[in-house]
Symmetry: C2
Subunit: 438 residues, 2 copies
Amino acid sequence: MSGLNETHDPALRSWVESANGATTDFPIQNLPFGVISPNGVEDDRIAVAIGDSVLDLRACFRAGLLDGLAGDKSHAVFEARTLNGLMAQQPDVWSALRLCLSRGLREGATQQARLSPHLLAMNDIALKLPSRIGDFTDFYCSIEHATNGGKMSRPDNPLMPNFTSLPVGYNGRASSIVVSEVGIVRPRGQFSKDGKIVFGPTEMLDFELEVGAFIGAGNPQFRAIPLSEAPEHFFGICLLNDWSSRDVQSWEYQPLGPFLSKGFATTISGWVITQEALAPFRVPARPRDKEHGEALEYLRDANNDARGGLGLRLEVRLHSENMRQNAQPPEVITATGFDSMFWTIPQMITHHSSNGCPMRPGDLLGSGTVSQYGEKAQGCLSEITWRGTNPIQLENGETRAYLLDGDEVVMTGYCTAPGARRIGLGVCSGRVLASLPK
Amino acid sequence: MSGLNETHDPALRSWVESANGATTDFPIQNLPFGVISPNGVEDDRIAVAIGDSVLDLRACFRAGLLDGLAGDKSHAVFEARTLNGLMAQQPDVWSALRLCLSRGLREGATQQARLSPHLLAMNDIALKLPSRIGDFTDFYCSIEHATNGGKMSRPDNPLMPNFTSLPVGYNGRASSIVVSEVGIVRPRGQFSKDGKIVFGPTEMLDFELEVGAFIGAGNPQFRAIPLSEAPEHFFGICLLNDWSSRDVQSWEYQPLGPFLSKGFATTISGWVITQEALAPFRVPARPRDKEHGEALEYLRDANNDARGGLGLRLEVRLHSENMRQNAQPPEVITATGFDSMFWTIPQMITHHSSNGCPMRPGDLLGSGTVSQYGEKAQGCLSEITWRGTNPIQLENGETRAYLLDGDEVVMTGYCTAPGARRIGLGVCSGRVLASLPK
């Protein structure tokens, strides 16, 4: 399923006119899955995005338009309130559904009249979390991010020796994951201030620009997923903001790692870009420097090296309260690329399961902060401002060391490749709200 | 609900004769909840343990014997396949159900004839995980354990400065939690051996003796649970074995904490001892040494100090393949107490939610390894054998630095107090199986 097929044809146009614009994230070559609810009604169902619209897949299933696409699992897939049922299927099911939707949504499709009653305007729905996320794991796969972070605390030895040997990761908090546009209340926590440990609203609130990867079919406990099979267990990606309170993190993280400095909220973009939609944008995995040697055998695979990377550009914009009041647009504060990640998504899946840890459909892996070298190419304020010592100068005269109340952080991402239609990841945004009274 | 009432009366006897024996873990004063399935049939339902039997609560509900006990939530509570529905209720519902069960199971109860058809022998059922565990958090609340662990890596400065300021914790892996008696396959992982990093079966497999605490009603995201309200969100406890591969842990844990060294399996005992059953065994929280100063305000509460501790004895037995073949009983290798924990369960709940992290009914908190000073009073082999340098001498002549294939680790626990009937926690056991072929 990883090769290109007719669904990738850049000449395809949709009868949903907004899908044909040059700047839409969701042309017919994308077809990302999500969970929606008609605004104001708690009645979640799965859907696919197309231009400025969404196609209600539960309604299509009930109308008999998706017959036979998931065999005896059809009810579990299309009547579900989350994407877990679809994610649990094999790639051939995902692929058949994508092909059916691509054919039905094309300009001139005979199904237009039967599908169009199930099309809703994006503005008329509420986007929900795409899956019931059993476990959320956050990795740390950018060597630039790891090196920058290390330099701040260990100038002589910034990169930990394990970084190039395994994809370092830790367990995140699943319950605090929210979808784009949910407001983020500034968390309280313990941190060091003026030589004392205090408890109060964090004074170093940061974002982390990441890519999230959803697990498809799981693995039984105690059975590892070899790297050659990892792509079959990888459903698709989203944008992810791993909100972080740096002052809390510094005080709490030893010896067991980050905990409450992260677990108050993680925002994801909501639409899941499938592995198949990403096929035209695959690039070779980042080559290892000579000094890093070869990866251990279980993390090595010629196919992964050749196609495990992803040509994905990512941007972060900041929209302050002041900008909003003056009708100024958000300002880009980071532009970076996912192709420079040291470890690939299949390597994360294989390493994660190498001890026999069971992955379940709908589980989420975060890539870790995406950073590159160069000006404003780092995925968090801590790196951009060097722990607040070198604040960002915004065009309207404001400065930022860390986030202020009212700041909205807007993440976007898109893939381009020669001969392919550009696709986007949608938006992952969240506005910082003042701490609640105690 | 925290005070003593008629359900605690040590003179109570049950018409279930096995519940009246001096050594049973499950006298009528206990009444722990669990999830069972008739052996060989996948049809999980909630139940309560009494002596060597279990009472099928779904069957009792269908027979009209539990009417009105959970109001309009009765169907969600008693028809559920897990305890999440019951855990989500307020303490008055838990208490009313306990009282009803206590009265119905007492010697001379008029309900005996109607309840007894729904009684199953413990040997005829399979015990399941008690709840759908949304998130699993593992704390690190024994100062002796933290000090011992620290001494091995930092002899001059064993205890991290944050230990006495907050309950250090990290997110665990929910998907790999299993119930007692599930075999534990020795995990593979990366570790340092003879100066090289290798990938293979762990050579330092350890157990960690912990107490698990289940969350009752949750809190909305961004709303903290004050310490005064934390007991209302605490449903009950179980035994927990946080299996650990120490060689993997040493190599992977910096800077984000333990990950695959833990996430292959965590075993819990299955029966959940309710907060109310534990009421007679509450003891004052461990007093803080003068040098530790006072806890910060949000972790301080006179009521918590007076009653936040728990007089719970814990034991670990080892049953080797050799012992089994020679019909020898398991040998006690650790006996320790939960009353020496530095932080209480309510403090863990309050700290965890202090950043606004939402807790959900059925979430699980681990206490961290329970250790005390003294011979064989530590909750893991790493401490008992001082990282393998001082192996345990077993009575049959075997020695153990770390666990061998075939070793069964059996954890038990019980509470006693003057004037109270002894109650037990059941058994948390798991046998180590050889690594699977690649």
